[in-house]
Amino acid sequence: MSGHASNYQPKSAFAKWFHERLPIMDMVQGQALDFPTPKNLNYFWTFGGILAVMLVIQIITGVVLVMHYTPHVDMAFNSVEHIMRDVNSGWLLRYMHANGASMFFIAVYIHMFRGMYYGSYKAPREVLWMIGVLIYLVMMATAFMGYVLPWGQMSFWGAKVITNLFSAIPFFGESITTLLWGGYSVDNPTLNRFFSLHFLLPFVIAGLVILHIWALHVVGNNNPTGVSVKGPQDTVPFSPYYTVKDAFAIVIFLMFFALWVFFAPNYLGHAVNYQEANPLVTPAHIVPEWYFLPFYAILRAIPDKLGGVIAMFASILILFVLPWLDTSKVRSGNYRPIFRQFFWLFAINCVILGFAGSGAPDSYFMSHEAAPPDQWALTYKLVGQIATAYYFAHFLVILPLLGLLETPKPLPASISDAVLAESHPSAAAVPAE
């Protein structure tokens, strides 16, 4: 598909002159407008476009926030309040940026689960998937460092706990944390470097997104049937079919985004972050933002410091080898009846991990009441441990075995066949042309 010749014909003399020097319009026509796209993509395929829009929104709101923000421990907190109270529309820009991060993660999680359900990581899309995992990793680093910048209590203690993870590394741990902090604790040098990197990394993400789209355009889109495109009858040009479908989904998503920004701008945050950072007092209950909670639960599930850190990083890095852990040749979960049930169990398990990461380790699950020590009780920690075990079992046991044991349903001969069978059940019996 990468070799797909575009139908671009320069219309004016200037366009022809320009085309001979930089064939960018040719690329736009071939890769963005005429790009042959499976004709059966559903709305789960619109989240790539939604994510691109969210990245642009984060960069634009971020660049203007920097015009009013001061990265210094004595002034950072006040400059954020200055943005909220004094700067024209500052409250709107900050709420867009803060809630935009959450929307970005909602969209990326739907995008990732879509890939997992429809087997979009399987050959020949392994590299496309791995670049996606890399983008997700950089996104996490960016979000973490951005959360530190307002220099509230949760900013400070989140930064301290996460940077301290590196002290678990044998031998070099202490030197690495000192290097990260630029001191003996999270302090002004730390804030300054996080600010610098928080500004840089979104552009790194933008670069990785270009690679992600490039890889996508080499192998082409997966689709809900998971059956490869067999010919032009299976595709439609990207524009207008998917530009319009994506645009519609983006508008709906922006409405959802606006609901948060205008009606619940602080719901996804923590009230204690409106207290200025105090290095001498840890808040009674520190938790990361919602999008990191499952990984936080995995960190706490292992009673050993180094073990917890290894498990947490492993839970993300395991996604890189997912294409080789899933042994089934059938891509789409629609044709894998047993996988489909395990997929949903896995999704529910991720939500449970999120809840397990949200409470005090020794309290009863979904309660604030402390459980008696030295006695069996269903605590946040225990739930986290069970869910962590299941998380890894899904990748290391269930997926490899399912591919060998499961009998998939018969696949349609082509995308066109599947589409016709859906709208005219009798047509499926007619041999494809």
Partner: protein, 195 residues
């Protein structure tokens, strides 16, 4: 150039490899300042020491001071707290080492090794949980001395539930080490300098 010259290593191959090696070493050396700039700078290193007057700290009271950006606990312990700490067998400790910057690395974590001889009532240690760096809460946790419904000594970390005893030694929870004891010295009977 003959084909024979192509087949084996010649002067040109040597020059390529030598040039490449010099460039690689040069690039590696050039990276170092960009990494090393992240280490603590001179102004951070200059904040080396702080003096504390122990006289105003009443028995059973604890103060927190800031040293190098971190909290330091200075606690005037009750006799019961010292007694409780002395009763613990070394084999019951999760971390058997004193973690005292004033002693050598291998010293055992007896209560005597956590304080200065003759000044057992004053416990001076970093208020930084050795798990992930939160500040433990004093007079809390399962290893405090309990009198009625009042707790004396002992620390509990709110972040991930580590419990420290009345000598600041880790007893339960994910933290791997006893609370660290910074370098400090008595300047007079009731004054210390930390750092």
């Amino acid at each position: 150039m003959s084909t024979a010259e192509h087949a084996e290593t010649n002067r040109r191959d040597f020059l390529y490899i030598a040039t490449g090696s010099v460039a690689a070493v040069g690039a590696a050396l050039a990276v170092w300042p960009f990494i090393n700039q992240m280490n603590p700078d001179a102004s951070v290193l200059a904040l080396a020491s702080v003096e504390v007057d122990l006289a105003p700290i009443a028995e059973g009271q604890e103060i927190t001071i800031k040293w190098r950006g971190n909290p330091v606990f200075v606690r005037h312990r009750l006799p019961a707290e010292i007694e409780a700490a002395n009763k613990v067998a070394l084999s019951d400790l999760k971390d058997p080492l004193a973690r005292n910057a004033n002693l050598s690395d291998g010293d055992p974590a007896t209560d005597a090794n956590r304080v200065v001889g003759g000044k057992e009532q004053y416990l001076v240690m970093m208020g930084v949980c050795t798990h992930l760096g939160c500040v433990p809460i004093g007079n809390e946790g399962e290893y405090a001395v309990v009198e009625g419904n009042v707790r004396h000594g002992g620390w509990f970390c709110p972040c991930h539930g580590s419990n420290y005893d009345t000598a600041g030694r880790i007893r339960k929870g994910p933290a791997p080490e006893n609370l660290h004891i910074p370098q400090y010295a008595y300047l007079s009977d009731s004054k210390i300098r930390i750092g």
